[in-house]
């Protein structure tokens, strides 16, 4: 084997790139053992080749590190799990924000009914068949301002007025036709429940003031059971055997029992 400068380099190349036959390789290795100068040249060559390979390997590894966006959480999360989890969290957060928004801001001025006895243009309630008691409340009692008559859960506000908290149900239309929800009214059901503070004032007539976040009732006994339903951006007070529309402009208004059968059928029956 002739190992002059150019040929030697080519022989080294053929060896490190695995192009030598087994016979050639054996002769090459014998020459290395026999010739110290050749061995020294080969050591130098191998060092340089190792450096070239290491540089390229590092370059490719850096590229992978920069571009393979695998994220780890603990030791079991891959990119797909992270994406799926992020999507679930986003959906839940979105649902929370939407429900919160509807809960706090959509009990606004009635856009459907002009007043408590007015007609409605809400066509979604036309097929409701539940009969509803339309008799106006007739068991009204005088408010005597005595906390002992109030609901056991009632307290007093800072001015000493009776104060209690009642459930505030948000109802929405649903396409779910499986009637497993006892609170469901035809194609509507309660989708969320909040709490509403009510304070009580004495008065000559049954009145209210409502501003979306609190309700003041005049003359109405604190001890009576009450609840509020919100549907189609309108709030309705359930008290006794009647519903009362609550306009949310904060002005003192008379409580007027709703008589419109279409509106009443869109709300849960009074028991």
């Amino acid at each position: 084997m002739n190992f002059e400068e150019n040929n030697m380099h080519e022989a080294f190349d053929r060896y490190v790139t695995g192009q030598m036959s087994e016979g050639e390789k054996a002769v090459f290795l014998e020459e290395l053992d026999r010739d110290p100068a050749l061995k020294a040249a080969f050591d130098s060559y191998i060092n340089i080749v190792a450096g070239i390979r290491a540089a390229r390997r590092d370059e490719l590894k850096d590229y992978i590190k920069k571009n393979a966006k695998i994220q780890y959480i603990g030791n079991v999360w891959s990119r797909s799990w992270v994406i799926a989890s992020a999507a679930i969290v986003t959906i839940f957060l979105g649902a929370y924000v939407v429900l919160n928004y509807y809960g706090t801001n959509k009990a606004t001025e009635n856009m459907v009914m002009k007043d408590s006895s007015g007609a409605t243009n809400d066509s979604t309630v036309q097929d409701i068949t539940i009969e509803h008691d339309q008799v106006a409340k007739n068991d009204e009692r005088e408010y005597n301002g005595n906390a002992q008559d109030a609901d056991p859960e009632s307290t007093e506000d800072v001015t000493g007025r009776p104060l209690n908290t009642v459930p505030y149900y948000v109802m929405e239309k649903t396409t779910d036709r499986i009637d497993i929800d006892p609170t469901r009214v035809a194609d509507k059901k309660i989708t969320s429940t909040k709490q509403l503070d009510i304070t009580y004032e004495p008065g000559d007539s049954y009145m209210y003031k409502y501003n979306k976040t609190s309700l003041v009732l005049y003359k109405v006994p604190a001890a009576d059971k009450k609840s509020v339903y919100e549907y189609n951006r309108s709030a309705y007070l359930s008290w006794g055997k009647s519903y009362y529309l609550l306009k949310s402009d904060g002005k003192a208004r008379e409580l007027e029992a709703i008589k419109d059968s279409v509106v009443l059928k869109s709300l849960p029956p009074v028991k």
């Binding site: 150019n6 380099h9 190349d13 060896y15 490190v16 790139t17 695995g18 290795l29 290395l32 053992d33 061995k39 020294a40 080969f42 050591d43 130098s44 060559y45 191998i46 060092n47 340089i48 080749v49 190792a50 450096g51 070239i52 390979r53 290491a54 540089a55 390229r56 390997r57 590092d58 370059e59 490719l60 590894k61 590229y63 992978i64 590190k65 571009n67 393979a68 966006k69 695998i70 780890y72 030791n75 079991v76 891959s78 990119r79 797909s80």
Partner: protein, 189 residues
């Protein structure tokens, strides 16, 4: 090229042969889950997964770059098998992967242990001084395993002889620079 679309194994090999490094990322991401599961179940850590999978896809890169390479199984199966073998080898040795293992296996058994890290860093530094063309020619030949025809095609040389001549000149230039600044005792040269 490598977005969310699925690619055939042949397309990926073609991209590797064209020098498209996105293929490395594609292979890494596609094989991360199975390799992770295997290594974590076999006493490994996430750091091991990263090391082994990088080595595996780079090995595939080197093999697929050669025109003689023929794929006899699915590419993902191939990557997984290499990663598995690398990890078993590492477990048996009880030490980290050594990139120099490969070159040692191809070199003379009488090679003495050397301070590889210092040597390699110095060579890498001087390789940069040669300029992009020389660096690429040397890396494509000695690491990617391209033959002279492929290098000529990749780097727009007129033919394989030109590529071969350029490779030799670049190697000698690198050797000369190293000899100028380092004695044989400093650098095994």
């Amino acid at each position: 090229m490598f977005g969310r679309k699925k690619f055939s194994d042949e397309e990926i090999v073609d991209e590797i042969r064209g020098g498209n490094q996105e293929a490395l990322v594609f292979l890494y991401q596609n094989n991360f889950s199975p390799v992770r599961n295997y290594i974590l179940k076999n006493n490994g850590t996430l750091e091991d997964v990263d090391d082994v999978l990088q080595e595996a896809v780079i090995a595939v890169w080197q093999n697929a770059s050669q025109r003689s390479f023929t794929l006899t199984s699915k590419l993902n199966t191939y990557v997984y098998a290499i990663a598995k073998n690398l990890w078993l080898k590492q477990l048996n040795k009880g030490k980290r992967l050594d990139p120099l293992d490969e070159i040692h296996s191809n070199t003379h058994a009488a090679d003495e242990p050397r301070n590889h890290k210092m040597d390699l860093d110095i060579v890498a530094e001087y390789l940069e001084k040669l300029g992009d063309t020389c660096r690429e020619v040397l890396q494509l030949f000695y690491f990617d395993g391209l033959d002279m025809n492929a290098i000529a095609e990749r780097l727009n040389f007129s033919n394989a002889d030109t590529a071969k001549s350029k490779k030799y000149q670049c190697f000698k230039r690198l050797e000369q620079l190293l000899k100028q600044d380092f004695s044989r005792s400093d650098f095994n040269i």
